[in-house]
C-alpha cells in the first residue's frame, strides 16, 4: 500500500515536471496587457471591457484581456494583480479599488519591469501613468452646478460616495461642496454616505435619508449604481421631479428613471473609451514612446490630452471626456 502511494506521488511529480517544461516551449511571445477593474459583472466595467475588446481588435500585435474580482474587496483585487505580475504580464492597466492597498504590489511590479497604468487614481504614487477622463474637481463642480440649478439654488442636499477610500468620489463631492458654497441657501446634510456601489444598499440608505429629512431636496451621487438606488427610492416615495438627483450613472440602466424624472441628470465618462485609452497608453509605454501634452490617443475624448507630473514619478494623463446627460439628451448615447 505504501508503495502504491509513493508511485502515485512520483507519477504526479513527473507529470508536473513534464507539464512545466512543455508549457515553457509554447509560451506566447506577444506582449500581454492585462486590465484589472474594481469588480466584474457590473454594467460600468462590462462597458469598460468592450473598450478592451475594441482595443484588442484594433491591435492584433498585443494580447489585451480584462480581469476583476467577483466581490467588492480591495484584498481580492490585490490578489489578482499579484497573480498577474507573477504570471509575467507585460503591462497592467488597473482601476484600483483602493489605490493605497495596491502601492506595494505595483512598486514590485515596476521593479520587475512590468508597465503599470492606472485609471481613477490620480494619487497613485507607484504608477507610470494615470489616465483620467477629465479633471475631477471640474466634474464634481459641474454635477453640483446642475443639481443647484434643479434645486433652485436652495434646500437640503446630501452626497453619496462608493466608499470613503474612493479617492475620485471624495474629490467629486468635495468639489461639489465647494461649488455649493456659492449658494448660501443650499444646506448640506449627512454627507458622504457610503454606497459600496450596491444599488440595493443605496436604495435602503436613500429611503432612510428621505424619512430623516422630509424636506431633502437634492442628492449628488458618485458610484455607477448610486443613481439607480436613489432614483428608485425617490420614485417609490412619489417624489420624482420634486427631489433632484444628479450623479454618475450610465444612460441605459438610468433611462427609465430619467424618463420618470426621478433622476435629474447623469454625468459620466464613457468607460469604454477610458478602457481603450488605458490600453493605448500601456502600449505606448511598452514601445518606450513618450507621452506629451496635446497628444492624440486616437480615442474619442482623449484627442488632446493634458500630461502633467503625477503623485509619484509617473505622469498624469487627463482627457476631456465628460458627458452630462438629462432626459432630453441621453438617447443619443445609449449604452
Amino acid at each position: 500500500m505504501k508503495r502504491s502511494i509513493q508511485t502515485i506521488a512520483a507519477a504526479l511529480l513527473a507529470a508536473t515536471a513534464v507539464a512545466g517544461t512543455t508549457g515553457l516551449a509554447m509560451a506566447a511571445d506577444k506582449p500581454v496587457i492585462a486590465t484589472v477593474v474594481k469588480i466584474s459583472g457590473i454594467p460600468w466595467f462590462d462597458r469598460l471591457e468592450t473598450g478592451v475588446k475594441a482595443f484588442q481588435a484594433a491591435n492584433p500585435d498585443v494580447e489585451a484581456t480584462q480581469y476583476g474580482p467577483a466581490t467588492s474587496d480591495s484584498a481580492q483585487q490585490l490578489q489578482i494583480v499579484q497573480d498577474l505580475v507573477a504570471k509575467g504580464v507585460d503591462a497592467l492597466a488597473v482601476v484600483p479599488m483602493d489605490p493605497a492597498v495596491l502601492e506595494g504590489t505595483l512598486k514590485r511590479a515596476m521593479e520587475r519591469g512590468t508597465v503599470v497604468v492606472t485609471h481613477e487614481a490620480d494619487n497613485q504614487v507607484n504608477t507610470m501613468a494615470d489616465v483620467e477622463a477629465f479633471d475631477n474637481s471640474y466634474y464634481g463642480a459641474s454635477l453640483n452646478e446642475r443639481l443647484a440649478q434643479c434645486m433652485g439654488q436652495k434646500g437640503k442636499w446630501t452626497t453619496f460616495v462608493g466608499s470613503l477610500g474612493s479617492r475620485t468620489h471624495m474629490q467629486w463631492v468635495g468639489a461639489g461642496e465647494e461649488n455649493a458654497k456659492k449658494y448660501p441657501d443650499m444646506v448640506l446634510v449627512d454627507p458622504n454616505n457610503e454606497s459600496f456601489d450596491d444599488a440595493n444598499g443605496v436604495y435602503e440608505k436613500a429611503k432612510e435619508l428621505l424619512r430623516k429629512h422630509p424636506d431633502l431636496a437634492g442628492f449628488q451621487t458618485s458610484a455607477g449604481n448610486d443613481v439607480l438606488g436613489v432614483g428608485r427610492a425617490i420614485e417609490e416615495a412619489g417624489l420624482a421631479g420634486k427631489v433632484c438627483l444628479v450623479g454618475t450613472g450610465l444612460p441605459n440602466p438610468s433611462a427609465p428613471y430619467l424618463d420618470s424624472g426621478a433622476i435629474t441628470a447623469i454625468g459620466y465618462w464613457d468607460p469604454q473609451k477610458a478602457g481603450m485609452a488605458m490600453n493605448v497608453v500601456a502600449k505606448l509605454l511598452l514601445e518606450k514612446k513618450e507621452l506629451k501634452s496635446g497628444m492624440d490617443l486616437g480615442v474619442e475624448g482623449y484627442n488632446n490630452v493634458t500630461v502633467t507630473k503625477g503623485a509619484g514619478d509617473g505622469l498624469l494623463v487627463v482627457g476631456n471626456g465628460m458627458v452630462l446627460d438629462d432626459k432630453d439628451s441621453y438617447k443619443a448615447h445609449l449604452f
Binding site: 504526479l12 512545466g20 512543455t22 515553457l24 467577483a70 484584498a75 490578489q79 489578482i80 497573480d83 493605497a100
Partner: protein, 328 residues
Amino acid sequence: MRRVDGQFLVLAAINVVLLALGAAISGGSFLSVFNLQSMAGQVPEIGLLAIGVMLAMCAGDGGIDLSGIALANLSGVLSAVLVAGLVSSAEQEGLYSALFILGALVIGFLGGLVNGTLITRFRITPILCTLGTQMAFTGLAVIVSGGKAVVVGSPEPLSSIGNEFWFGAPISFILFVAVAALIGVALKVSPFGRWLMLSGSNPKAALYAGFPRSAVVTATYALSGTLSGLSGVIIAARNVNVKWDYGASYLLIAILIAVMAGVRPEGGYGRIVCVVFSAVALQLMSSLLNFGGLSNFVRDFAWGALLLAFLAIARYDLVGFVFSDRRR
C-alpha cells in the same frame, strides 16, 4: 499500526494536482520561483486567521471566531495611529517597527480577551458574540482612522517581513509556518492543548473532570485574537497601508479553510497541518484561476464545490474506503 489521516492525504494530493494543473495551463510559469514566492506571500494573512477560526471551533459549544479580519484591521490601524503619534516611521525605522508590531499584537490579544471574556463570563453564544465584536472592532477602526487608509510606510525591518525572503521563501510565510508549527506542537503536548480538545469534544465531562474550562476557552480566543494581530502586522508590512475595510471577503474564506481542513465544527478535533495545507490549496486554486484567465465568479463556484466535496469525504469516510486495507 498508525491510522492514516485521510484528510491530510487528500489535501496533500489536491495541492500536488493543483500545482501540476497550474503548470500545464500556464506553460510552466505557474511553477516559476517568482510565482511560488508571490503565492506563498499571499497565504499568511488569511492562514493565520484560519488558524484562529480553527482554535475557536475546537473549543466546542458552537465556538467560532467571526471577528478575525476585523480585529486584524483594527490592530493594524490602531497600532499605526498610536505609534505614529510617538515616533516617525521614516526616521526611527527600527523603533517604529518594534512598537508597531508590539502594539498590533497587544491590541489583537486584548480584542481576543474581550471575546473570550464575553463568551465565558457572560455566556454569550460565540457566533453572536464575535459577530458583535466584529462590528465593534470595524467601527472602532473607522473611528480612529476617520475612514481613510493609514500610512505605515516601509520602515525596516517591518517592511522586510512583507517583502523580503529567507532561503528563497517570503519571511511572512516562514513566520506563518513557524507560528503554525508552534501552535501545532502546543496543541499536541501541552495540557492546554489536551484540555482544549477534550473539553471541546465533551464540555459536560470536562466540567465534571474539573478542567479549568473558562480559562481554556478565554485563552483560546485570546490566542485567536493575537493571531489576528499578527495577521494585521503582515498586512501592514505587505501593503504599506492599513485600512479598516481590507479583506472583507476573508471572514468566510477563513471559515472555509478551517472546514476544508477537517476541523470539526462541533468542537474537539482539528489539525494545524491540515489548516496550513488547506490554506495553501485555496491559494493555489485562486492563483490558478487568475493564471488561466478565468472569471473570478468561477473561483467562488470552485471553492464551494471543493468545500462540499470535503464535507462529503468526511461524511462518508471515502478515504477510509479507498485505503481500507490500512485499517484492521
